[in-house]
């Protein structure tokens, strides 16, 4: 077993991996089921308004965190890899900010424009 030839150190890694006890995976698995059931319950019981958004986001973040941390082994990785993965996606928040500014502006413009059309068209077509 000449792993060294391609620069791997599987000997160390395998020992590390074996040390993850199976119980952790089962616990996380059950938690993911419970969290999914709870986020479905938000819809099933028609929770509305800010409470709905808060619950959806909370269950989403918890599920994503558990999957990344345990199933994708991030809690066992070195920070060099962890930061490389977690920091760049934060930039997506910039897109979200730009997108929401633009969307508000578009919404406003459509409102002004379509409202004008409706007023002009109203006498001609009462069903509009």
């Amino acid at each position: 077993m000449d792993h060294a030839a391609d620069g791997h150190q599987p000997v160390v890694r395998e020992e590390e991996a074996i040390q993850h006890p199976l119980g952790v995976y089962f616990k996380i698995w059950i938690l993911l089921f419970v969290l999914s059931a709870m986020s479905y319950a938000v819809d099933y019981y028609q929770v509305q308004g800010y409470l709905r958004w808060f619950l959806i986001l909370m269950f989403m973040v918890l599920k994503a965190g558990l999957i990344i941390a345990v199933f994708m082994h991030m809690v066992w990785e070195r920070l060099a890899l962890v930061y490389f993965i977690l920091v760049p996606p934060v930039l997506l928040l910039t897109f979200v900010a730009i997108g929401s500014l633009e969307a508000d502006w578009t919404f406003f413009q459509r409102g002004v424009h379509f409202l004008k059309e409706l007023i002009i068209a109203a006498p001609l077509s009462p069903h509009h």
């Binding site: 791997h8 991996a17 089962f26 993911l32 999914s36 999957i67 994708m72 070195r78 890899l81 969307a103």
Partner: protein, 239 residues
């Protein structure tokens, strides 16, 4: 080459922030002790995060800017089993199927590192079947929406036209990821069963020797697919 690499990696690695600074400032490879395939998979997954992130950000933009009412997913995706329609039930079942497959995948990685060939094989095979089930349910969902509800990428009878474009784009791209994952899960089930990872048989495409680390790399991809679904479920189906 091997002696150099081993010498570097046998140096004591510092933990925490100091270790992070040392790793990135070492003027060598930054991801110490991380196998090549795993680092590459993570780089791919970060780029994929941006693709799905951009899809979801665009979805937010079109949903916020439309004057027409947004169709209510809870009603659009309701199914009736003889009685009253149950809201969003198909999507809920798909979510559970995908989470179950994530669990079997995590166990497959673990048993792979234990070199337990047959348990790894059956877990991978189960993961592949669950993934195929998910894709099958998605086919059902799509055909119901297209044929019965009349949803098109350019319009639908329920409200804002953007609903259809976002739905087909986002779930289609995710379903494509799941399908690719299922294909690779079947390929790796075969490789495990044939003992290719035990014997380090070179792969037909990469010509690299088989290794149980490959199961962890495949697992990263599969968990990512589940992870994306968590976000799609929250933002598209529940919001």
């Amino acid at each position: 080459m091997s002696t150099d690499t081993m010498a570097v990696d046998s140096l004591e690695l510092k933990p925490g922030i100091a270790g992070f600074m040392d790793d990135w400032g070492s003027d060598q490879r930054a991801f110490k002790g991380v196998p090549w395939g795993k680092a590459m998979m993570w780089i791919f997954l970060v780029s994929d995060t941006f693709i799905f992130g951009c899809f979801l950000a665009s979805y937010m933009t079109v949903r916020m800017s439309t004057l027409d009412p947004w169709p209510v997913p809870s009603e659009v995706f309701a199914l009736s089993f003889g009685g009253a329609p149950i809201p969003l039930i198909l999507i809920a079942i798909m979510t559970f199927v995908l989470i179950t497959s994530s669990g079997t995948m995590a166990l497959a990685v673990n048993y792979g590192y234990r070199k337990n060939k047959w348990v790894t094989f059956w877990l991978l095979f189960a993961t592949a079947l669950l993934g195929a089930t998910f894709v099958g349910m998605q086919v059902f969902e799509w055909s119901k929406l297209i044929l019965e509800e009349g949803v098109r990428p350019w319009g639908n009878p329920m409200g804002a036209a953007q609903f259809g474009s976002v739905f087909f784009m986002v779930t289609g791209f995710h379903g494509f990821h799941v399908s690719i994952g299922v294909i690779f899960l079947f390929i790796f089930s075969y490789k495990v069963a044939r003992g290719h990872l035990d014997d380090q048989t070179p792969g037909w495409f990469t010509k690299r020797g088989g290794n149980y680390e490959e199961i962890e790399v495949l697992g990263l991809y599969w968990h990512f697919v589940d992870l994306v679904w968590v976000f799609i479920f929250a933002f598209f189906y529940l919001w």
